[in-house]
């Protein structure tokens, strides 16, 4: 099992550009999450999904969109990148009935 994979590892965007951060898991987990980690801070929940076709906002959803068309994939979309979105983005997944999340390696995004 590859676990949770994220692409790209690094990306630099210009203000106003758009991009999609990819996340995939091969553990057949129902639940998936997107977090952001600002420098020197803990992770904050952006969006989460309880299954294909179902998503909901977390603590800091503004400026982002998500979709979940399959169990495996949970992409995060930035439509109009802003410097405030400079952060490290983590995707995670968890199986039902277990309060344990499995994290991807993260994507470092810089918006200039």
């Amino acid at each position: 099992n590859a676990g949770v994979t994220q692409t790209p590892k690094f990306r630099i965007l210009k203000i106003g550009q758009s991009m999609t951060l990819q996340c995939a898991q091969d553990m057949n987990h129902n639940y998936m999450y997107w977090y952001r980690q600002d420098p020197g801070m803990g992770l904050k929940l952006i969006y989460y999904s309880v299954g294909a076709g179902i998503t909901d906002k977390g603590e800091v959803p503004n400026g982002y969109n998500v979709s979940r068309s399959t169990t495996e994939d949970f992409p995060l979309r930035l439509e109009l990148a802003a410097p405030s979105q400079t952060s490290v983005y983590f995707c995670a997944s968890s199986p039902p009935g277990k309060n344990e999340q499995f994290f991807g390696p993260g994507t470092r995004l810089t918006v200039l």
Partner: protein
């Protein structure tokens, strides 16, 4: 809303000695989980230890143990026989008990642990 507070931005310990990292949390729930995650310079989030709120016994994983004080809403991590590889950022995290929206985590701001040889 639940909050998690780590009041020690930085800690240091000598190799082979013991260090305790502090965490307090606030919740009105009775069913919840608490976690300590380790984040080394590689950025990978690694689960160190987990505690179920309904269990009175403190969780232990090898050199890592917790002191869970439910009434005081305190959840500290003790690292015994510290090793150079323990140097990392440590995050305390909270999630509600079993619910239909999964195990969404609320994190503290982290404690940077340095291990001195």
């Amino acid at each position: 809303a639940q909050t998690v507070t780590q009041s020690q931005p930085e800690m240091s310990v000598q190799e082979a000695e013991t260090v305790t990292l502090s965490c307090t949390y606030d919740t009105s729930e009775s069913d919840y989980y608490l976690f300590w995650y380790k984040q080394p310079p590689s950025r990978q989030m690694i689960l160190v230890i987990r505690q179920e709120a309904y269990k009175q016994q403190n969780a232990t994983e090898n050199r890592f143990s917790v002191n869970f004080q439910k009434a005081a809403k305190s959840f500290s991590l003790k690292i015994s026989d510290s090793q150079l590889g323990d140097a990392a950022m440590y995050f305390c995290a909270y999630s509600r008990g079993q619910e239909t929206s999964g195990s969404r985590l609320t994190f503290g701001e982290g404690t940077q642990l340095t291990v001195n040889p």
